[in-house]
Each structure stands twice: as structure tokens, then as C-alpha cells.
């Protein structure tokens, strides 16, 4: 993983909105607003959503509407999902790479 920069990549329009939802991304605890997408919460925490398998550079979403697949990630059952299209659930554990690391 590239170094974690605490400067957010996404900024909530209302910074004071409560963040009661908790989940883990690559083992890092992340908080989210109720109704947040996974990607918005991760970027607001200053985390990229993974690295490119091809040059190792950080990925942080691009189209935000399910088309570019830049925010592809995996849940703990190894199911692939798009961070920008998926609402986060409390206690969820997500990874930037599939569990078996084969793809």
C-alpha cells in the first residue's frame, strides 16, 4: 500500500454530519455517515481504494458512477463490488484485493 496521507480525498458538504457507521478497509477502521457509499467513506478518510495491479500507483475512483471500475474492491467473502455504487454497512470488512490475491 502507498503511504497513508491523512488529508481527505473527499470532503463532506456538511463537515459536521455524524459518522456512526464503522467498517474496516484493508484492516484500517473507517467511519461513515448513514447512507454513505463505501468509496466516499474511504476517500473522506484520506485512503486510496487500492493500487493498480500494473504500476502499483494508488487508485482513488474516477467516474463515481459505476462505469470505470477504478474503485473495484472485495468483501470478506471474496465478492467483487464497486465502491462508488455500494452503500456501506456497519461492521463490514472490505479489501482492496481479493482474499486469495490471485487476480
Amino acid at each position: 500500500m502507498p503511504k497513508i496521507d491523512p488529508t481527505p480525498l473527499f470532503h463532506p458538504i456538511s463537515p459536521g454530519t455524524p459518522r456512526p457507521v464503522r467498517f474496516a478497509f484493508d484492516g484500517v477502521g473507517v467511519s461513515a455517515r448513514t447512507g454513505d457509499t463505501i468509496l466516499a467513506a474511504i476517500l473522506a478518510a484520506g485512503l486510496p481504494c487500492g493500487t493498480s495491479e500494473f504500476d502499483g500507483a494508488a487508485r482513488a475512483g474516477f467516474c463515481l458512477m459505476g462505469s470505470c471500475q477504478d474503485c473495484t474492491m472485495w468483501d470478506e467473502r471474496g465478492r467483487r463490488l464497486r465502491g462508488c455504487m455500494t452503500e456501506v454497512t456497519d461492521g463490514q470488512r472490505l479489501r482492496s484485493r481479493p482474499y486469495d490475491d490471485e487476480t
Binding site: L9, R33, S52, F62, L64, G66, S67, C68
Partner: protein, 459 residues
């Protein structure tokens, strides 16, 4: 075809919703398939519950009318077999392949309306893969779905009327550090404006009002020039560009929203049997249809996925497609209604065509991209690798051949974001008009194993 017609509409944006409305009013109950969880499309995207508190700020006096329109749309969808969260990933032999809440399902149809819209057309620049670079459409989705800004110092860069719209939305929500960098010079806009005004006076005047709003709000607006690079250490820190007079300029930024107009989403239409023609003004391939949007015996296309026209054109085109579909079922459609619809559609399409001069796709800049620039985001295939392939004796220089050799266009997005630039690089080498990447099922990545539990999270 005997028996009851099975009408399927793919996409619940402005075009799909208009088609749905006309069909429901005629007493039909179409199947409406939408990949997102909410109807409304992209440019006219509905606010998520998280973004709902910002409705009045975003839309001002239009907010109530918008809420009423959404209620009407909901009432119409309630009379259909409406399936949100459903991806259509293939089409063959009058059957659609779906992946939705019920997992993998095949859906036969007798009549198909495709209205799947468009995404931003992107001209890559060095640094466009840095965290903090998003599409222009994405910058609006950030606000409308994610209730977030993409940065504290945002540059909207490229060439598109949507640069001004997106900046205005950020401004209305209280963002105070915004720059619009439009690469098409003002002189080109002034040249195009009389035609724009003639075809769609209201839309043209709304554009002027938007620019005035940005000026009043203190938004920096630059026009003319070439974006050289987006730079930063692991994330966006600045954008470098060269003015038309050759002056190097640097804009500090922590986020860039980029877009050069729209790219029609054509893959499903191709799988459904549509044929294509190159449009030299838009410099992209659009499906061949008749004036009503009919593209085949059982196929109609409407909205931006057929030809770039914006929401109003999509509404008109969706209605016409549905009326043509009804006529094919033997229903009588008043000629007056058809004439009015076609007039409305033509005005908007002519307006958009005039706008291609005001907001240019900078095809020629691919030649200036450094070899190290990634063209394919998914697999990081560079401009240099593509040029090296073109220089090698590979036989006919053809975009699908170049795709096969370099893998540019074969990654997860399936050529949606690299395709336009790849086409220009190949065209400049071949000295021909840009080619067209062939479509292939699945049109989006899908899991290999059918497993109905939790399938809605995947797609």
C-alpha cells in the same frame, strides 16, 4: 411474433422515462431495467437520501418543480415492471441477460428500447491517473450521491458546457475555491453562439446566465489553451497548462474534474444489432436510426446513447421511440404529435451540433502527449506503447487490432475511458477517421459464478 408484446426499456434516465411514460399512457406495462438504485439518469440524477438536504441550495426555485416531476415519474414506474439495481450485460436473439437482485436472469423481449446514456469523453493528460482526478460527471455525482466535494481547491478542466454547470453546483453549496479551465477559446464560443441561440434560445440563455453566476460568485474562469499535466506527489497538487499565446501557467489544486463532452454508450446497442456511422462534428460513432429512433425490426434507441443531445433531447427522443414502437404494434399515433416531437428533438440536436464548435474535442493534442502518459487507466498502457505498436509491421492499422496487441481497451472499463483517445492515436497514424472499438458481452464485468445471494452487491 404472436402473443402479447414484451417491451423492455434499458435505462431509466430522461429518455427511458419518456418512453416509459408514453407506453404506460397507451396501456402497456413495459419492463424497465435500471442499473442504479434510483431512476433519473446521470446529468439529471436524483439526489440520494444523504444529499437530499441540499436540494433547495442546488436547484433554487426549480426545486419544487423537480420534486413534482420525480413524483410523476414514480407514479409511472409503479405501473411498470420496474427493476432497479439490474445490470443488462448482454443481448442476443431477442433476449437480454440480466444480473440483479434475483441473480442471473434471462429476459426475452419482442420490442427493445435502449436508453443507456453517456459518460464523459476523456482526453488523457500526464497525471490523469493521480488520486484526486475525477470525471466531470463524477464531480457532480460526488455532490448528488455522495454528499461530498472532490476537493478543497477544485479545477473543472476540459471543454464542455458541464464545466460551468458543475462549478455552479459547487458554488451553490458553498464551495469557494473553484476554477473553470475551458480549453476552447472564447472566440470559438462567440462564433457558435448565434446558431446555438437560433436552435434552442432558452438553453443558450441559460448557459450565459450560468457563466454570469460564476463570475458573480468569484469563480476563476480561464479559456483557451492546452492542459499539459496534472502533477503532485501521490495526489493532485497542481494543474499545468499553456495558454493559447504560449504562456505556461500553473493552477494550484487538490482535485481536478475533467471532461471533453460526452461519449455515447453504444455497446448494448451493438449487441442488439445496431449499425454505426461516424459523425464528423462530434468525432464519434453513433448508431444508425430513422427519425423516430428505430434501429432495427425490434430495436429502438433514444437519448445520449443514440446521439449526444442532453436531457431535453432525450425526453423528446424517448417519446418518439415509444410512439414508433406503438405504431409498429398497429396503434394510431396522431401525425401532429409526431411532427411536434420531431421538431423538438431536431432543435435540441442542432443546438448540440452547434455546440461542438464552442466546446471542442481536442483531437490534435494526442500527438503532443509524452510517451509515458497512460492512455488505458485499467492496465496502464501508455501512449508510447501504442505508438510503438503502430510503428511495428503489424499489418492493417486498425483500432481493434491495436487493442488486441496492446490491451488498451481490454481492461475493466472495456474501453469506455481510453477508447476516444486510442481512436485518435490510431487515426493520426493511419491518416484516417477514428475507428470504433467493437463491443463484446459482458458489457460490464460480472462474476463468473452464478450465486443469487447478495448478487445485487456485485455487478
Amino acid at each position: 411474433m404472436g402473443g402479447e408484446p414484451i417491451v423492455a426499456i434499458v435505462g431509466a434516465g430522461p429518455a427511458g422515462l419518456a418512453a416509459t411514460r408514453v407506453l404506460v399512457q397507451a396501456g402497456l406495462r413495459p419492463i424497465v431495467l435500471e442499473e442504479a438504485t434510483l431512476p433519473g439518469g446521470q446529468g439529471t440524477r436524483r439526489l440520494s437520501p444523504l444529499s437530499e438536504p441540499y436540494r433547495a441550495a442546488l436547484y433554487g426555485q426549480g426545486a419544487d418543480a423537480m420534486a413534482r416531476r420525480e413524483d410523476t415519474e414514480n407514479a409511472i414506474l409503479a405501473k411498470c415492471d420496474y427493476r432497479p439495481g439490474t445490470l443488462v450485460w448482454a443481448c442476443h436473439d431477442n433476449q437480454l441477460e440480466l444480473l440483479g437482485p434475483d441473480g442471473f436472469v434471462g429476459q426475452p423481449y419482442t420490442h427493445l428500447v435502449i436508453a443507456v446514456g453517456a459518460t464523459d469523453r476523456i482526453m488523457p493528460v500526464p497525471g490523469w491517473t493521480l488520486p484526486g482526478v475525477f470525471t466531470l460527471g463524477g464531480s457532480q455525482v460526488a455532490v448528488k450521491r455522495h454528499a461530498s466535494f472532490i476537493g478543497r481547491k477544485v479545477v473543472f478542466a476540459g471543454s464542455s458546457p458541464l464545466l460551468y454547470l458543475a462549478a455552479a453546483q459547487y458554488l451553490r453549496l458553498g464551495h469557494r475555491d473553484l476554477t473553470v479551465l475551458d480549453t476552447t477559446p472564447m472566440a470559438a464560443k462567440l462564433r457558435a453562439f448565434p446558431a446555438m441561440l437560433r436552435h434552442a434560445p432558452r438553453t443558450a440563455m441559460e448557459g450565459l446566465a450560468l457563466m454570469a453566476e460564476l463570475r458573480r460568485g468569484g469563480v476563476a474562469m480561464l479559456s483557451g489553451g492546452t492542459i499539459r499535466a496534472i502533477e503532485g506527489d501521490g495526489r493532485v497538487e497542481r494543474l499545468r497548462y499553456v495558454t493559447r499565446k504560449g504562456r505556461e501557467t500553473v493552477v494550484a489544486a487538490d482535485a481536478v474534474a475533467m471532461g471533453h463532452g460526452l461519449r455515447a454508450e453504444t455497446q448494448l446497442a451493438e449487441l442488439a444489432g445496431a449499425e454505426f456511422r461516424f459523425d464528423p462534428d462530434f468525432r464519434q460513432w453513433f448508431a444508425r436510426t430513422d427519425a423516430m429512433g428505430r434501429a432495427g425490426e425490434t430495436l429502438w434507441l433514444a437519448g445520449d446513447s443514440a446521439r449526444i443531445g442532453g436531457a431535453q433531447a432525450a425526453d423528446a427522443a424517448g417519446s418518439l421511440a415509444a410512439q414508433s414502437l406503438l405504431a409498429s404494434l398497429g396503434r394510431q399515433i396522431p401525425a401532429r404529435l409526431l411532427r411536434r416531437g420531431r421538431r423538438r428533438l431536431k432543435a435540441q440536436l442542432d443546438f448540440q451540433r452547434a455546440m461542438t464548435g464552442a466546446f471542442r474535442w481536442p483531437a490534435e493534442t494526442v500527438a503532443e502527449l509524452p510517451d509515458a502518459t497512460p492512455i488505458c487507466r485499467c492496465e496502464r498502457v501508455t501512449a508510447g506503447e501504442i505508438r510503438a505498436t503502430l510503428a511495428a509491421p503489424v499489418g492493417p492499422v486498425e483500432i481493434n487490432r491495436v487493442k488486441s496487441i496492446t490491451r488498451c481497451g481490454m481492461g475493466r472499463c472495456q474501453g469506455r475511458f481510453c477508447g476516444p483517445a486510442l481512436a485518435e492515436i490510431v487515426a493520426s497514424a493511419a491518416g484516417e477517421t477514428p475507428g470504433r472499438l467493437r463491443a463484446q458481452a459482458p458489457v460490464r464485468p460480472i462474476p463468473l459464478v452464478a450465486d443469487t445471494e447478495g448478487a445485487e452487491q456485485r455487478a
